[in-house]
Structure formats: C-alpha cells, structure tokens
C-alpha cells in the first residue's frame, strides 16, 4: 500500500506530492486528465503573489505582510479568514527557493503587467512551464503518476481515509490522502444550479465560458459533501472575469482577455452603459467585470473603442468588429441603434477636457452622465470604431472544504487524521469572494505544501500504529 495518495494534478497536488516524497513517504498521484492536459488550471496561471520586505530577484521594492493582508481584505470585502490568510501570506515569502529547487524559474514582469512588478513573481514561460518542472522533479524523486485516472468515489471509515475508487472501478487504498482536484467550474450543470434563474427567467450560467480546464467537474467536492465534510463558501462565488465572447468553451486562458474596457465604454444588449469603466486600471478591475456582465441581459456586453486608443492596450486575440461610424457599428452588433447612439452621444457630451494618459489614473472624466466614467474618459469620435463582445469567464469556484492551518478535512468540526485538502478545493477558506492576481497560486502552494507534509506524517503514524 502506498503511503500518500494525491488526487489531482495541478500546482497544489504537485506541491503536496513533492513535500510528502521529500518527507520520505511513497507517493502516488492520480491525475484525471491525459498527460497533454495535465496540471488543471495551473497550466494557465502566470504568477505568485509574494510578500517580501525588500527587493528580491524579480520582485521590486517591498510588499509587506500588512499591505498584502489589506489587499486581500479589500477584494474579499472581509469574507476571508485572517489567520489562514496570514499563513498564506507568510508562506509566500519563503517558498520560492523551494520552488526553484524543483525547477521553477522566475522572470521579470511581462510587458503589460508592470503594475504587479512589486507584488507578483512571474513564472518563466507561465504556469505550464511550472507544472512541467514539478512533474519532472516529482518523477525524478520517485513519485508515481497515473494520468487519465479520474476518481469517482471516496472510501472513508468515519473521519478516516481508507481509499478511492477510480472511474474504471479500481480500488486504490493508501495510508493518507491529499485532495487537490480543483473546484467545480467545469461542471456546467452544477454552475447552472448554483447561479439559478434570474428575474428575466434566464439561467445566467448557461452563457458562461470556462477559462480553464474541462476536468474540474467537482466530483470529489460533491462526494465529500455527501460524506458530511464541513464546507465553506457560496457556490455562486468564484474568480469570474469578462472575456472575449468568442473564446472557446474551455481552456481559453489568458489570451481571451479584453484589455480595452477601461479605455472606452461598455454597453449591454440594450445599448446602455451600466458601470464606471474607468474606475481603476483594468488589471485591478477585471475580476469584478465577470459578475457585472453576468448581471446583464443575455449575459453579454460590448466594449466600444475608437482609433485613438488602438495600440494602447494588450492586443486582443480575435479581431474586433470594425465600422466607420457608430451607428454602423451598432447595426453590425445588432444593438438598438437609437439607444446606442443616445448612450454614446450622452457619454461624448459628458467627457470633460483633460490630459489623456493610459499609464496613470488620469484626469479625463465625465460630468453629468450616469454611470460616470472617472478616468480615461475621452470622446469616442474617431473612425474606425471597434467593438469586442464580452462574456463572463469563470476561472474557479470558491465552494470549499473547511480547513484550519493543518489543511486537514474536517467532519463536525473535528479534523480527519489522514485526509487533507489543498488548492481550489479549499481556496474559499481564504477567498470568500473577489480576487487579486496571483493569490490562487499562493494559496495552492502554501496549502499544498502543508497538506503534503501532513499526509506524510499521518502515513508515518499509521505505519507505527500498524507495527505495534
């Protein structure tokens, strides 16, 4: 019997596997996907939010614990757990040497991401390069990996882990286990149920795109709920951003972002604006726009810009809809031309003189229009005009197994002796809602390492008991 069984194959699972193996345990990983798609959502990530008190290799200046905590407090609106959040923050300050030992390489912030040069350490080549490095290291250390092995059932003896049953019906037992198999964002049925039906009679989740893997079906979350594990979080909460409506249903990843939102206006299907597009830099606001678009009729919205700002934002992956006049653009988008023109004319008339500068929070704002646009408000008046349709893109869900600082799964507020959880399956303990770049990887890395260490110790304890 193997000492530690890891269910999952992304960052948190790999961190757990490596730590358990380093602690001397024999480790078997079960990854649901084929090798080509391994790594879950981690293959789409790009950085780790890191606390640091002084400049460190790729990180500039300082990002002290308190500031990190305040940032987290702000984005979650207080729906977090301070001790666990601080544990993640502190762990982010000292995990990178360990990551480097396992082959992860860091790079200076990417162009278009200078705003996080101080707070986030970027993986060279992105998350898939990190995942590849961890797999190479794990296999070199003797971790066994089985691909295309989804787990469908948990075998428990009260609060004690016994084993799992795979989709093929195979029963695999182990002395301890770490669950790190992701959220349920790829399960469209469950999303539908979680988001429910709105006042317009729509099922909003039917129009969501999934930014990441298709393998996060939430099978184990459901199994653990059924087994009576303690849960935390609202199933409709998650990291949800506005992305190009033409993105593929799964795995569109980073390149489907539309970064021109803050430089133009956004209208809904009725041709009306609904939120301050220039509230803050887009990278600081993209995480609220998924939800904003989800609330619009038909869950669609259109970012409208003109010639003046082309080349001033990260180039989108698909070409925009182009027209030589605004009415023509509205017609091409099949929006009500009259309302659309009222919105645009009203906005243009409300733009106050200012000095446009997309690299700072500039003084271009509207006056006398609702909603106001508070920065980068320039008249949209220079042909050609471009439009990009937006849809909510869900990155991961926050419904989680409740944990304390040991990462142990809990039943009726008592920790299991040998079952642990990491990554998206428990991120909701720290993230009740909202998101800030790179914190998912901070949580996955911190709790993956804790869970792996805990599982190795539990396996050792089981071994000792077994011998007596």
């Amino acid at each position: 019997m193997v000492d530690v069984l890891i269910v999952g194959g992304g960052n948190a699972a790999l961190c757990a596997a490596l730590m358990a193996r380093e602690a001397g345990a024999s480790v078997l990983m079960l990854e649901a996907s084929p090798k080509d798609w391994r790594g879950g959502n981690s293959q789409h990530t790009r950085n780790l939010r890191c606390m640091h008190d002084a400049p460190q290799d790729v990180l500039v200046e300082a990002y002290p614990e308190e500031e990190y905590w305040q940032d987290l407090l702000k984005v979650t609106g207080g729906e977090t757990n301070e001790p666990l959040a601080r544990l993640v923050i502190r762990a982010s300050s000292n995990c990178r040497d360990w990551m480097r030992r396992h082959g992860v390489r860091f790079q200076p912030p990417l162009s278009g991401a200078l705003h996080v040069a101080r707070t986030n350490a970027f993986f060279m080549g992105g998350g898939k390069a990190l995942v590849n490095a961890y797999y190479r290291s794990a296999e070199a250390l003797g971790v066994k990996v089985r691909y295309e092995t989804p787990v469908t059932e948990m075998l428990l003896d009260g609060d004690r882990f016994v084993g799992v049953v795979t989709e093929a019906g195979e029963r695999i037992t182990a002395k301890a286990c770490v669950l790190a198999a992701g959220g349920f964002e790829s399960n469209r049925e469950w999303l539908r149920e979680a988001w429910g039906r709105n006042d317009r009679g729509e099922w909003p989740a039917d129009n969501f795109l999934i930014r990441g893997t298709r393998f996060n079906q939430g099978v184990l979350l459901k199994a653990m709920m059924k087994a009576g594990a303690d849960m935390i979080g609202d199933p409709s909460q998650g990291h949800c951003v506005a992305i190009d409506a033409r993105a593929p249903l799964y795995d569109g990843g980073i390149c489907t972002r539309i970064d021109c939102v803050s430089l133009g206006v956004v209208v809904n299907r009725e041709g009306e604006r609904f939120y301050d597009e220039g509230e803050d830099f887009w990278p600081k606001r993209y995480a609220i726009w998924g939800r904003l678009v989800a609330q619009q009729p038909d869950q669609i919205a259109y970012s409208i810009i003109d010639r003046k700002v082309v080349g001033r934002f990260m180039p989108p992956v698909f070409p925009g809809v182009v027209a030589d006049s605004l009415p023509e653009l509205a017609a091409k988008l099949e929006l009500p031309v009259e309302t659309f023109m009222e919105t645009l004319d009203g906005y243009n008339a409300a733009c106050q003189p200012g000095t446009f500068n997309h690299t700072v929070l500039d003084d271009c704002m509207t006056e006398g229009v609702a909603p106001a646009k508070t920065h980068w408000a320039q008249k949209i008046d220079t042909a050609p005009f471009y439009a990009y349709a937006l849809r909510p893109g869900i990155t991961f869900t926050y419904l989680s197994l409740k944990v304390d600082d040991t990462a142990a799964v809990r039943f009726a507020d008592k920790p299991s002796p040998n079952l642990f959880v990491a990554g998206e399956m428990m991120a909701g303990n720290v993230l009740g809602k909202g998101y800030t770049a790179g914190v998912g990887m901070s949580i996955g890395t911190a709790f993956g390492r804790i869970a792996g260490t805990g599982a190795a110790a539990a396996a050792r304890a089981a071994h000792t008991i077994g011998r007596h």
């Binding site: 980073i254 390149c255 180039p315 992956v317």
Partner: protein, 386 residues
C-alpha cells in the same frame, strides 16, 4: 504544353505554400501577443511585442531570429492538442526555410533548398571525389609509394587554390547577396542607434548562442520538456571547430605565399595543430548534433528541413574525418586516395554552401543584429504600461 502547365502548377503551389506559412505565423503570433508568457525565453517574443500585425517581412525576420530552442512549445497552454494549435518553433521553421529559398542568389538556385539534403551533399562530394580519383588514376599516381605527404605532387598547389578559391568566392558572394536582400526586406528606416553597442550585442548573442540557453540558462528542449545544454555545446564544438580549420587554412596560406613554406607542415606546426583541434571539434560537434537531431521531437521541427540539416552535418563530419585520416596516413601510399576523398567533401561543402544549412548562421546573425538595433528604438506599440 502539358509540361509548362505542370511547371506553372508547381510554381503556383509553391507560392501558395509560402503565403500559407506566413499566414500561419501571423495567426499564431496574434495569440502569442495576447498571452506573452514566453517573453523571457528569447528575443522573438520581445520583438513580437513591438508589432500588432505580422507581414511577410516581419515573419521572415522573426523566423530567422528564432533558434528553435522550443521552450515556448512545451510551456504553451495553447499548443496542440489545444484547438488554437500554437506551435511557434514549427511555424517559424517553415518560414525560415522559405526565406533561404526567397533570398538565395541566383534566385533560381534557391529552389535547391528544396532538395539540398543528405543525398545531394553525399552525391556531390563522392562525385567530385570519384572524378579526382579518376584523374589521379589516369596520371597513374594512385597508390604510388614514397610521396611522403607531397600533396602538390598529386594536385599542383595553384590548381587547388584556383578551383577551391573560385568555389569559396562564389559561395561567399552568393551568401552576401542573399543576406543583403534579406536585410533590405526586413529593415525599415528608423531613429539612428549606437551601432557599436548593437553590433557588440548581436555578436555576443551569436558567439555564445545565448538563445540556446532557454532564457534561464538551463538549455533548450530536444526530446521533451526537459532542458539540455548539449545542443548549445555541440554547436560550439562545430562552430569553433570550423573556425579553427578556417584559421589553419589561413595560416597555411600565409606560410605559403608570405614565407614560401609549403605543405606538408610538421605535426607541431601551427596549421596542423589548429587543423587537428578544429577537426576534432568538427567530429564531436556534428556527431552530437546528429544524435540530437535523431532524437528531436518531430513537433519542434519542419520535417522538410531534416534532410538539409543532416546533409550539412554529414558534410562537416566527413570533411573532418577524411581530413584527419589524411593527416594520419599522409606518408602512406593511401595518401592520394585519401586526398581525393577529402577534397571531394570540401568541394561538396563549398558548392552546396549557399544553398544549404550553412546559411542559417548568416541569416540568424543578420536577424540578431536587426533585433539589437530595433530594441534600442522606442517601442511603437505602447500597450505595455498599465
């Protein structure tokens, strides 16, 4: 008429293929430009971020800037089997071959790139060798003992100098015209920059093969996602081996014309030491590159180039092998035969030089220089700051 139609068909097909290869680069780089995770691997991605669209000139430039290290393929979240099917090294390799054809001089000879492979290289070399052997036979000097390394008793020095001088001069001129055409196509006028610094940087990148280091210095990918420095090392053996052989020939030429010292030179003379060291490099380097080439993941390469790669590798290897054999047995009766075979391979290299893999070094240096120049100018796309 039918023959003309067939030819026109072929020409049309080749043209469409070139367009399709550039279009594929444009499609892929639009995806890359929206992602940018690979920015630190090499020069291709920073160069990409200076553009929003990719025309033929851009594709030609970026194709030659790419060293095919393939770090970006294994790191790519959009690589096959993803429906976006992003494979930057392969798309650029396909265009790279097109650029060699496009800029070759004379232009019609560019078509030779389509067929200049292992077979052509070997056929030319062995053909020349056979011709030389026949010549010696007619003169009756094959397997004549007592020549004691007197190469010029077999082929007079001036004959050799004339034939090989003419061949190498043609190669140099053809390559120079080709790379000039390439430079004109890919360069746009811009703000003047500090040229010595740009040239220095390009030279350093070329001489250290910086971009076979993968950005982190762990190396590039060959078989799978693991990094190896051996591709860089074997290139170094090959390149510096070649340069040592070149130095050996140059020193010998000086000896001959300046000091009247004629070959054969003693074992511990400068030409022989340089040539021997270079020859050893040209055995280890090409052998290693061939070994890596055999194991390279087919996803990383343009399949049609494999034979060109291997033809060049084989020529270098056999030039060195026959050269060292000639040195070892230069005092034996086998000398004339060995000399003929060695000269056959040297001529094979010279003749195919402007239409084979050798060109990659020249075009890559030009692309590195262009990159070193353009990075010193302000980025025309200001998407970066947010």
């Amino acid at each position: 008429m039918a023959a003309i139609d067939t030819l026109m068909d072929l020409a049309g097909k080749a043209e469409r293929e070139l367009d399709a290869n550039v279009a594929e680069v444009d499609r892929i780089l639009h995806i890359c430009n929206a992602c940018r995770y690979c920015e630190s691997f090499c020069a291709v991605f920073p160069a990409m971020t200076r553009r929003l669209d990719f025309n033929v000139a851009d594709a030609h430039y970026l194709a030659n800037l790419c060293h095919n290290c393939s770090a970006c393929l294994y790191a790519c979240q959009y690589a096959p089997p993803h429906e976006f099917g992003v494979n930057v090294p392969k798309a650029l390799a396909q265009v790279r071959r097109d650029t060699y054809i496009e800029y070759a001089f004379p232009r019609v000879f560019g078509e030779l790139y389509r067929c200049n492979g292992l077979t052509v290289a070997m056929a030319v070399s062995l053909g020349v060798a056979a011709f030389l052997i026949a010549t010696i036979l007619i003169k009756g000097s094959l397997f004549v003992p007592g020549l004691e390394g007197e190469f010029y008793a077999i082929f007079p020095h001036n004959t050799l100098a004339l034939v090989f001088g003419a061949a190498s001069l043609f190669s140099v001129v053809a390559l120079a015209i080709g790379v000039t055409r390439f430079w004109r196509q890919v360069s746009e006028p811009g703000k003047p920059v500090a040229m010595p610094a740009a040239v220095g940087e390009a030279a350093k990148s070329a001489l250290t093969l910086q971009y076979l280091g993968g950005g982190h210095g762990d190396g590039c990918n060959n078989k799978d996602d693991a990094f190896t420095l051996w591709r860089r090392r074997f290139h170094h053996f090959t390149f510096y081996g070649f340069m040592l052989c070149f130095a050996s020939t140059s020193v010998a030429t000086l000896y001959h014309y300046l000091f009247g010292l004629e070959a054969p030179y003693p074992i511990f003379s400068l030409p022989v030491i340089l040539g021997t060291l270079g020859g050893i490099g040209l055995l280890i380097g090409p052998a290693g590159l061939f070994w890596l080439n055999m194991r390279r993941n087919p996803l990383q390469m343009d399949d049609r180039q494999k034979t060109m790669d291997r033809g060049f590798i084989a020529l270098l290897f056999f030039i060195s092998l026959t050269g060292l054999a000639l040195l070892a047995w230069r005092d034996s009766p086998a000398m004339p035969l060995l000399l003929a075979i060695h000269l056959g391979f040297v001529m094979g290299l010279f003749v195919t030089l402007p239409y084979g893999k050798f060109a990659h070094g020249i075009f890559r240096c030009a692309a590195l220089l262009k990159h070193a120049i353009e990075k010193r100018r302000p980025n025309p796309v200001q998407a970066g700051a947010d």
